[in-house]
Amino acid sequence: MPHTSTGGRVTESVIETSALTKRYGKQLAVDQLSLTVPAGSVFGFLGPNGSGKTTTIRMLMGLIEPTSGRASVLGRPVPREIRTVLPHVGALIEGPALYGFLSGRDNLLRYDAADPTADPRTRRARAESALDRVGLTAAAGKKAKAYSLGMKQRLGLAAALLQPRRLLVLDEPTNGLDPQGMREIRALVRELASEGTTVFLSSHLLDEIEQVCTHAAVMAQGRLITQGPVAELAAGARGRLTVTTPDTGEAARVLKELGVTDLVVTEDRVTGEPPGAEEGAQAPGDLAELNAALVGAGVRVRGFGVERASLEDAFVALTGEGFDVAG
């Protein structure tokens, strides 16, 4: 049962925005964004480059002022109470930024000193454990300018992990990493999430979102296209009913009678939208009846099933365009 505050408002969301808008001159970078990130979720924030993800994150982190609309993080309005919120938030925004002339360890000490709520007595110990967590202990004494991109990315993550956080905001955390580095970061994200930290993860990589996220929102051209649990989003892309049969003509007739729409007949396959798909849910019974009807009509069925839609199908269905995996 969701906990309600005295005002009766449900406070289960870690990030909540309503009609959040950022305008640069004539261009709308973020347009009327209303986002809800549930507590405990690994929330994927998906969209092509330039779709307004980073601008949104910068508004949530108090770096840029919204043109209009409201936002709250951890139940507090931002940017008004941003300094109360931020000590509980670890962030990686648009890649890591480090002091090249300082060692990895000293970079962490520097960022920790910037937080007035961070206890200087435990600073070194916390920096060491953060380094350990991202596997940089051995390279901690090296100057950051000698780090590879993957090491810089991991040091950026370590800075986000200097304190126990309630929310981690990770903007493209695997950008520029090799497959091994990506796997490591994703494993770390899962680990953190399992400890109860809400993770808000932006990415332009669909498979990344599918692999690690429980929830997702899709942005395109500054607008929110959809948001919800990943499973639902994929299901919303309406998996197509596929029947493999030599008797395609008869099968198509029977299926049409039973309310299957958008039928496409290829060589030995008939595909179509199962009835009730618009609601996003398909009662399994319906499919069984379809199958029974086909067999009853003498159609020789070789294969029968609904092809599960991927998030990529969902994205194409929602935006009507391919997902440009730039870079």
Binding site: H3, I93, P116, A159
Partner: protein, 298 residues
């Protein structure tokens, strides 16, 4: 995860408080990274070299027993003629030689780079989400720049004192007014002069900090600050502009020599300090207004 944990997403005001004393950690960190940079050390090295050059040049020129340039106010920076009699005067000469350009240029580099340098390196966004707090960060940057003003001035003074003591005799000091004061008192005046010179740089520091909030390029901010410095110095030499000269931050800089009068002539010294305070207030507020409302997109 338990329900209770999920529901408790509001920030509790209790566990993570801002501790007043902890906020100074950022200032310490800032001092650390400023004075550990090669650039800062190189600037200080150049400043330390000026008194060595002046001292050696004076020593060579006067080694045949002749006086320097025929004496008087004729050539070179103030007090240069007295160095051969008293090494302590090298401190005053070196400060007079570095104040018009070397010192403010070094301060312009450090001040101009303060915010813009963090911005171009991208580290500014991480400091702000740490959260350093914009006002706090600006104060820390300004305090660090002022510390640099003091350190840079003291580097010149100490280098000059060392070179002066090594190359020339030390002893009683003849003031500009012609009276003589003891060496101890002379040393005290030298320290006072160093402090006044450091304070003379407050205006440039504030100007540089403001310029630094305007751009995301550290180089551009440094160049602009140093460029402004040179422009003001040139304008200060144009007699037709004498009506606005008293408002130039550099106009009363050389008034520190008045501390070598007996009694001390305070008029221009106080004008200088007042002007520096005015610049600090004006450009400090401008920097605060600008930085407080700025969208950090770098």
């Amino acid at each position: 995860m338990s329900r209770a944990e999920v529901d408790d997403v509001r920030v509790a005001s209790g566990p993570r408080e801002v501790r007043r004393i902890w906020t100074f950690g950022l200032f310490r960190s800032e001092l650390g990274i400023t004075f550990r940079r090669w650039r800062t050390l190189a600037l200080l090295g150049v400043l330390a070299a000026v008194p060595i050059l002046v001292g050696v040049a004076v020593k060579i020129e006067t080694s045949d027993g002749s006086t320097l340039g025929g004496g008087g106010e004729g050539g070179g920076p103030a007090f240069i003629a007295q160095i051969t009699n008293n090494g302590l005067f090298l401190v005053f000469t070196a400060l007079a030689a570095t104040l018009p350009f070397f010192l403010p240029m070094a301060v312009g580099v450090v001040a101009g780079d303060s915010i813009a340098g963090e911005s171009s390196a991208g580290t500014l966004r991480y400091l702000l989400v740490a959260p350093a707090g914009r006002t706090r960060l600006l104060l820390v940057k300004y305090a660090t720049t002022m510390t640099f003003c003091l350190v840079a001035t003291l580097v010149v003074a100490l280098s000059a004192l060392t070179v002066g003591a090594l190359l020339f005799p030390l002893g009683e000091v003849t003031t500009i007014s012609g009276t003589r004061i003891g060496f101890g008192e002379g040393l005290l005046r030298a320290l006072l002069i160093a402090l006044v010179v450091a304070a003379s740089l407050i205006g440039v520091a504030a100007l540089g900090l403001f310029v630094s909030t305007l751009t995301s390029s550290g180089i551009a901010a440094m160049a602009t600050t140093v460029g402004l410095l040179i422009t003001i110095q040139i304008l200060d030499q144009i007699p037709q502009l004498h009506a606005i000269h008293p408002y130039f931050f550099s106009h009363y800089w050389l008034s520190f020599a008045d501390l070598m009068r007996e009694p001390v002539y305070w008029d221009e010294l106080l004008k200088n300090l007042g002007l520096q305070g005015l610049y600090a207030a004006l450009f400090g507020s401008a920097a605060w207004a600008r930085f407080g409302a700025k969208d950090i997109t770098a």
